[in-house]
């Protein structure tokens, strides 16, 4: 190598610029080689890790199935399994994941037993560590684990994560509140400072479908500082037929925020509120197309033909979408 170096620099008889080029080319070649080696190392590392994971899952599944279904299963083997197979971080992570899958697929006695096993394998410690982590995906995973295993964490920590800067952590935190609150599943909304995303709203709606206690009064959050929370509550008022709250939704028909106005018009339509039609007709001309379409749908479903006719001037306008919506409503009345 030294000879080669000497040749390049002293004896090649080439221009210095050519020598520099050769040197840089060699340097890049070396970098490429290093990069290839690094990629190969990562592949090998990942494959070995996957093999280890698969082996652990295999052992774990046999152990859990024995624990759940084998009448001759010895309690002492839990401690033995923990000491030998739930030691490293990877083993704890894989075990937690598998236990969560079991708990999601089983109900009744098997579900209760699997939750007991989670604690006996001392996996709650890892969840607490993850919750305190600076990495957002670990915080989200930790919250997912505690909410599914029914572990209560400190109120202040849960509230902090509810307003985390990452939406994924916020989602897991609100699911934690819904799953662990026995009586007031939506009280976390009082503490929510960040916007409620559509995805989060879908999760809350889904969780409420299986909720066996009394559904909360959604008017409690109609003065929330987050418009997304108000919009969600207006939607839920109609979804759960909370007719006693209609009066509280009516002011939103004239709200400056488009999304809230749209939700309020939709709510009135779903709840068949006739009085709201006159209110929305007053400002119809100044509304944008989205709201106009919603109003025309409202008139079609709960209004009268006379009320629709007061908007006939729209047929002379340029907006095709509104004309079509108007004609649909007219067709409905004249049928």
């Amino acid at each position: 190598m030294e000879k080669f170096y000497d040749y390049i620099y002293y004896n090649s008889g080439l221009e210095w610029i050519v020598n520099v080029n050769i040197l840089i080319s060699l340097l890049f070649l070396l970098l490429i080689l290093l990069l290839i080696l690094f990629i190969l190392y990562l592949r090998v590392y990942k494959n070995l890790r996957n093999i280890k994971k698969a082996e652990h899952v295999e052992k774990l599944t046999d152990f859990i199935n024995g624990y759940l279904f084998d009448t001759e299963f010895e309690e002492a083997s839990i401690e033995e399994f923990r000491a030998h197979h739930v030691r490293s971080k990877l083993q704890k992570k894989v075990t937690t994941k598998e236990i969560l899958i079991y708990s999601q697929n089983f109900k009744g006695e098997a579900n209760a037993s699997i939750k007991k096993l989670f604690f006996r394998l001392e996996l709650d410690g890892l969840a607490f560590k993850e919750i305190a982590s600076r990495k957002w995906y670990l915080r989200a995973r930790g919250m997912h684990t505690v909410s599914n295993m029914g572990i209560k964490i400190q109120e202040s920590t849960a509230v902090r994560l509810l307003n985390d800067k990452r939406v994924e952590v916020r989602l897991q935190s609100l699911l934690y509140f819904i799953k662990l609150s026995q009586k007031y599943p939506l009280n976390f909304l009082y503490r929510l400072e960040e916007p409620l995303t559509i995805w989060q709203q879908i999760h809350i709606e889904d969780a409420l479908k299986g909720y066996k206690e009394e559904i909360p009064d959604f008017s409690k959050w109609l003065n929330h500082k987050q418009p997304t929370v108000i919009g969600f509550c207006i939607k839920q008022i109609s979804a759960f037929d909370q007719y006693e709250n209609v009066e509280k939704v009516i002011p939103f028909l004239e709200h400056p925020e488009e999304m809230l106005k749209k939700e309020a018009v939709r709510c009135m339509r779903k709840m068949g509120n006739h009085e709201s039609v006159d209110i929305v007709l007053t400002n119809f001309a100044s509304e944008n197309n989205t709201i106009k379409k919603e109003i025309l749908k409202l008139i079609k479903e709960v209004g009268s033909y006379n009320q629709l006719q007061t908007l006939s001037y729209e047929l002379n306008g340029d907006n095709e979408e509104i004309k079509i919506e108007y004609l649909k409503a007219e067709e409905y009345f004249l049928k």
Partner: protein
């Protein structure tokens, strides 16, 4: 002689648990991880009971049920699915399934339902 059960399920955890539990209950269990494998298995074997998911790769649970009902109408079928919609459950019963269990499920309950379905044959 041990009764033979075909379990058609693509979730490895559910497959392993069902296999373990049903073996413990004294049945012979054959597993098919998708609808295509299930159809192949059914060609060469007779089963006393079939437990199947509805959402399966390649051949759906409904197609599989149709096939079983055409070829061996007396084989009882238990559907094990995450579907909770009434129309899906009704459709399954209309196709002739004997029982419908929704996930998450109780393994002990499943075991009893298997026993009941087999006692009818």
């Amino acid at each position: 002689m041990k009764k033979k059960i075909l379990v058609v399920e693509d979730n490895p955890m559910v497959v392993k648990s069902l296999e373990f539990k049903l073996n413990k209950d004294g049945y012979d269990v054959v597993v098919a991880v998708d609808g295509r494998v299930a159809l192949d298995t059914l060609k060469n074997n007779d089963f006393d009971l079939v437990i199947t998911d509805l959402m399966l790769p390649f051949v759906t649970g409904s197609q599989l049920i149709e096939h079983i009902k055409k070829e061996t109408p007396n084989t009882p079928i238990i559907v094990l699915s995450t579907a909770t919609q009434e129309d899906i459950i009704m459709d399954a019963f209309t196709m002739g399934v004997d029982d419908f269990i929704t996930k998450p499920f109780s393994p002990n309950e499943l075991s009893l339902r298997v026993k009941r379905s087999l006692s009818k044959t």
